[in-house]
Amino acid sequence: MIKDLHNKLVNQEITSEQLTSDYFDVIEKKDPQIEAYLSLNKEFALDKARAVDKKIQSGEKIDLLAGIPCSIKDVICTEGIRTTASSKVLENYVPPYDATVISRLKANDAVILGKTNCDEFAMGSSTENSAYQTTKNPIDPERVPGGSSGGSAAAVAAEMCAYSLASDTGGSIRQPASLCGIVGLKPTYGAVSRYGLMAMASSFDQIGPLTKSVEDAAIVLSRIAGKDRHDSTSMPLAEKNYEDLLSGNIKNLKIGVPKEYFEGNGLDAGVRKIIEESIEKYEKLGAKIIDVSLPGGEYALATYYVIQPCEVSSNMARYDGIRFGQSIEKDFPSDKFSLADIYFKSRAKYLGKEVKRRIMLGTYALSAGYYDQYYKKAQKVRSLIKKEFKDAFDKADVILSPTSPTVAFKFGEKTDNPLEMYLADIYTVSANIAGIPGISIPCGEVETDGKNLPVGLQLMGKWFDEETLLNCAYAFEKKL
């Protein structure tokens, strides 16, 4: 899809300015109902588009992403454009700098349409935790788009942008991609710089694309990946144009299916059926399906819900009403308040429920006397889970599973019980725990209440082997 748009631009069938204003028209028409965008960036986007048009007219060679309109999840800093993390605490925050991924998009002349809604600080699986608005699933507006990158997924699915950049800490790119019927890629931890991404759980967070096709995901990844001096966890990778490496040939590729992921009754019967059919399709494409064992999968969610709140509790300490963000100091400038009051009251007033819940959970797990029992124990289990994946990847090139145990659920269905909501991430957290790349691709639909709700297939790859992962996804998409 990006390539088609690119060809139209270079062949001068359409200008980037026209393309951009067409997207704004769609947004104007659809977004009052879907509510995917928190803010639009019209003037800036059109300026950029016109600059690209000039380059094309003067015969300059342009990048594949040049002049193509995209959206950005509102947890990624954009210089001069308000970035809220869907939180009241950053209601007026205007970043003085660009995240590295944004600088890289800009260097390729990407057109940024606006910022998309998400769960507050990316904490959630339905986008219902946004402090501003409720994004609807474009396929069924009575259902959630998934989360935390629900705004990005809905915007892509509803053709309100060509692609979107988002973050994935426990499934926040893949799960909404699954629920909205699009492609979502979480790269290997360290493949993409996290500089300028508002930190949620730093040892899991990774930026990746939500797109209409696997090829588009490859195109975006090639342009955002690589070492960055601002993020010490980013790794120097061989520069690859992943989109040129998609052959669609997966003959003899070994796809591992972890039997544990299909046990128990959490997996919806309709979803299971479609995933099983997808496995058969892969067999027909020439892949070898093999059994692998990942018994730790059962413990992945528990591991995640210890380590992640611990990291949250320390990352969220910066929202203290002192250096940036909302502060009660503005409301009560008198000297009646002490420094401690500013902390306690600012955090109480401007942070949302789920954020506070996780801060408290993490504070408890890290407090004296509990550290060994929770944090250290979880980090040991994390070692075990990583080892299981290593062993599985000795046998298999790629591991296949569902992305989400269910199709899109209804608003309010899981909001009363945090634990219930956490279970939405059961198949996706493992990739973040092990640091491996994962992709969700649409693989079928389940009819529910008269609507055809999409099902996502998750593929997980070896560390830094996005090439094999993307090609495996591409083969499926091509033959679907």
Binding site: E79, G80, Y93, V94, P95, P96, Y97, Y189, G190, R229, S232, T233, M235, E298, Y299, A302, T303, Y305, V306, A317, D320, I322, R323, F324, S327, E329, K330, P333, F337, S338, L339, A340, D341, I342, Y343, F344, K345, R347, A348, K356, R357, I359, M360, L361, T363, Y364, S367, Y374, K377, A378, K380, V381, R382, S383, L384, K386, N417, P418, L419, G435
Partner: protein, 95 residues
């Protein structure tokens, strides 16, 4: 099971003001989640090292070089101070 008093103690450590009702609610919710993560104890981790870094990166250092930022970036930082005096971040007295 986390008692209401324990919840208040945690909230104090986390510097978040909470009401009685909130303490009550957090006590149930956090207890549920802690009950769920108890599952980890079923896993035998005898002799297993806790993970330090997932991709095994070690001692990553960057060049020790000063990068100058523009006046615009600098004022961008300053403009985000909730309270300021000239170019200083104004805060309450610590003592």
């Amino acid at each position: 099971m986390l008692s209401k008093d324990e919840v208040k103690k945690i909230a104090n450590l986390a510097r978040i003001e909470i009401s009685e009702q909130e303490a009550e609610k957090y006590s149930t919710e956090l207890s549920d989640i802690l009950g769920f993560v108890e599952k980890l104890n079923e896993m035998d981790t005898e002799g297993i090292e806790p993970i330090a870094h997932i991709t095994g990166a070690k001692n990553m250092a960057r060049e020790d070089k000063i990068i100058e930022y523009s006046e615009e970036t600098k004022s961008g930082v300053i403009n985000n101070f909730p309270e300021k005096k000239d170019r200083f971040d104004k805060v309450k007295a610590v003592f």
